[in-house]
């Protein structure tokens, strides 16, 4: 048996940038299923190959509910949002997912494209009137997804600065104490209670009204689930999307010929977005899953009750699936990456995120064909997600 000190600590140390972690590559090659120690002190099986990651994410025998409720292995000692959609298993998960799925289909995302393009033009025209250089995060990559998610939910364009602080606390596994994370969730909850009360009094044709109706009329979700839903939607719709967008623009500007290629051939943008999402190792961890029965994974026996961690960042660089995985090739026709997850929890906002990122890059390349990095970005540090905190650009 492994003694405590022999186990590899996970997550691996973060480094600035979005490039591939050498630890993942090494494990994929030699020990694709390995026992690691989590910040809580508990152990988990870390899987790094594409096939195993996909299996863990889609196989109902690896449970999110078991990883968030009752006793069992955990990443941190406190579990945030135990009643959110991300902590539920089918069929209970389906009850929650069905409430938001109709508003987030590919068809609905396409219907939002022209208004997203208008928002993009508006933000970029304002930016163009400012002196160069400017921070693209503050002026573009944050305000765009913030406006889109607020419009979708039907809330006023909520206070981005406060959301940033909360999002950062929610994302941090290693940088903050459990108490700080709990405090952020409590503050965010108070804020959302106010927002929900206002919407209850004045419902409209939007996602928040639909969720409130499901709560009040259909009794399809609890008050706690309603709040957790809002937090997940804001964290995903705003935090994750703005982080990814900034990261993707950074990758394009890091090697100016990448950006120049998209300016010359805008038709490449949709597939380039997929390759950028594949390449960027923005998340260094993953939500834990717990095995509900004994099983074998990549030739290793996993016992009932043991935790498994399946990072998509590693799967997206599996050399069995992507030749020369560490090469960012915007013309690569890459088979579907796992940046939006897989299985029951496949990102509910994936199609909307795609439309936003495509329109953002279309607008940027059109308005600012000479965009370039004006200084090194500042990176979020010590978190399990990596993103530029600032992106100084000139034009």
């Amino acid at each position: 048996m492994n003694r405590k000190e022999d186990l590899l600590p996970f997550p691996f140390p973060s480094r600035d940038g979005l490039g591939p972690l050498p630890e993942f590559a090494e494990l994929r090659r030699h020990t694709p299923v390995v026992k690691v120690r989590l910040p809580s002190g508990d152990t988990a099986w870390l899987v790094t190959r594409h096939a195993d990651v996909r299996r863990v994410l889609a196989d109902p025998r690896f449970s999110r509910s078991r990883a968030t409720r009752g006793e069992g292995p955990r990443i941190n000692r406190t579990t945030t949002l135990p009643d959110s959609i991300l902590a539920a298993d089918p069929p209970d998960h389906s009850r929650l997912r069905k409430l938001i799925a109709p508003a987030l289909t590919g068809r609905r995302a396409e219907a939002m494209r022209s208004s997203i393009a208008l928002l993009t033009d508006d933000l970029l025209m304002k930016l163009a009137r400012q002196p160069s250089p400017r921070d693209l995060v503050a002026h573009f990559t944050r305000p765009l997804p913030l406006a889109v998610i607020c419009d979708l939910l039907g809330t006023p364009r909520v206070d981005g600065e406060r959301l940033d602080a909360w999002n950062e606390a929610l994302r941090s596994v290693t940088a903050r104490s459990d108490a700080e994370v709990t405090a952020a969730v409590e503050e965010m909850t108070d804020y959302l209670i106010g927002l929900i009360a206002a919407k209850r009094a004045d419902p409209a044709q939007d996602m928040l009204s639909a969720l409130i109706a499901a709560r009040d009329e259909g009794d399809q979700l609890s008050e706690g689930e309603l709040i957790s839903f809002c937090i997940v939607l804001l964290a995903g719709g705003y935090g994750t999307t703005s982080n990814r967008l900034a990261g993707l623009v950074h990758l394009l500007l890091e090697q100016p010929e990448r950006y120049a290629l998209l300016c010359r051939e805008p038709a490449l943008i949709p597939s380039a977005v997929e390759e950028l999402l594949r390449y960027a190792q923005a998340t260094l961890g993953a939500n834990l899953r717990v095995a509900t029965e004994d099983t074998v994974l990549g030739g290793v026996k996993i016992k009932e009750g043991e935790a498994v961690i399946a990072p998509t960042s590693s799967a997206n660089h599996d050399e069995h699936i992507y030749p020369e995985p560490d090469l960012l090739d915007l013309t690569r026709a890459a088979p579907s990456h796992l940046a939006f997850g897989h299985g029951a929890h496949f990102c509910a906002g994936a199609q909307l995120a795609r439309v936003q990122i495509q329109e953002a890059l279309t607008g940027l390349t059109r308005h600012f064909p000479s965009l370039h990095a004006a200084a090194r970005p500042d990176w979020t540090s010590g978190l399990t997600t990596r993103a530029p905190r600032t992106l100084p650009v000139g034009w």
């Binding site: 889609a58 089918p90 069929p91 998960h93 997912r97 299985g343 509910a348």
Partner: protein, 66 residues
């Protein structure tokens, strides 16, 4: 007469949602698209859930022809 499950593989983006939601009916192929399992029975509530959550509306359940 039973209802029929229709799966539009051309639309499928391989999210894996249906396979995780209704594992008795859907599985992913090597090409990462969903397919109906050969041993799939008549559509049940799980299949209705899968149809409702598919992000590209690739799954439909058709009433039997009269």
């Amino acid at each position: 007469m039973t209802e029929r499950i229709e799966l539009d593989r051309a639309l499928c983006i391989g999210s894996g949602l249906c396979a995780a939601t209704a594992p008795g009916h859907f599985a992913l192929d090597a090409d990462r698209r969903s397919r109906l399992r050969e041993d799939a029975g008549a559509p049940d509530e799980r299949v209705e859930d899968a149809a409702a959550v598919c992000p590209v509306e690739a799954i439909t359940i058709n009433a039997p022809a009269v």
